[in-house]
Symmetry: C2
Subunit: 151 residues, 2 copies
DNA sequence: ATAATATCCTACTTATCCGATAGGAATAAT
DNA sequence: ATTATTCCTATCGGATAAGTAGGATATTAT
């Protein structure tokens, strides 16, 4: 499981992506309210994303946050990583939280390691081909589908 | 990430799978030593697996644990589930640890939910086609590969 | 029978991490 | 100035995971 932190980050960035072309910025409070995220917690998360170079900020009254890259270029896997969320199911197959198993004499001979690598690759494949723009597009499709179903 | 508990469970069951055809059983102590798992912890895990009907046990001196099903029929996903390990990356797409997001008005309209479902399906697909027998087979292949590489 | 060897069962400890909060300093717009 | 906002550090409480303790119960071997 990825931490809530990562999920909140994705939601927040999705909000920012929606106003990207208008070159608008959004305040923490606005995003927090829109997405039902605890305000102070979101503050910490956005700060982390900013220090990681994923978003920009404008201080002072009428300030806020904005994306520094196009929503097409920001993919889910990098958001998860930037917020400290592990994707792999085991430490020994994690790129960012790697830890070797004491019990494995040779990692390259471990069958479980091998399988878990496959799982990781499959997950990362999906998560790094899906951008914020894709996410928004997906929601539009889902809305249309629900609409046509309701009739 | 899945808990260590689940990983230990897989290792232990792999041991039992290796002696399955000889209708042997192994004691906790034996497995613990072989796999470098804390003895008492393994005890708790095997007990859980037994109560879940995945393994059988024989009490008393010269007792131990054994598989009740063929190693072909025991897949990784069910071991992970039996030991309380989540496979999904978010609670809202988890089969066994489902929790709805307060922030999502309609789950069916959430793009993230949609993507995470895909990730879950991909992971489960791999984990439920891989059995203990496959795991052992994989290790044999890896060993052969390493052998031919060493030359 | 008795001793030795196992599993069974419940409860506990301990450490770590996660989610969330507090409080104020710095900065910019009006 | 006042107000709105980000920036920064520190902290708290609760949950969960990993591992431990100790004894009850069952079986085998001698």
């Amino acid at each position: 499981m990825i931490p809530k932190r990562s999920k909140y980050a994705i939601q927040a960035l999705k909000c920012l992506a929606k106003v990207y072309r208008d070159k608008k910025h959004l305040s923490i409070a606005t995003i927090a309210e829109q997405e039902h995220i605890p305000r102070k917690f979101l503050e910490a998360i956005l700060l982390q994303l900013r220090n990681g170079g994923m978003v920009g900020s404008k201080m002072g009254a009428n300030g806020g946050y904005f994306l520094v890259k196009h929503p097409d270029e920001i993919v889910l896997s990098s958001i998860i990583r930037a917020t400290g969320g592990p994707i792999a199911l085991l430490p020994c197959v994690s790129l960012n939280f790697y830890e070797e198993c004491i019990e494995c004499p040779h990692e390259e001979l471990c069958g479980l390691h091998d399988v878990m690598l496959e799982v990781r690759e499959a997950s990362i494949h999906i998560l790094s081909k899906t951008s914020l723009a894709d996410l928004i597009l997906r929601e539009k499709k889902l809305a249309r589908k629900a609409e046509s179903k309701r009739k």
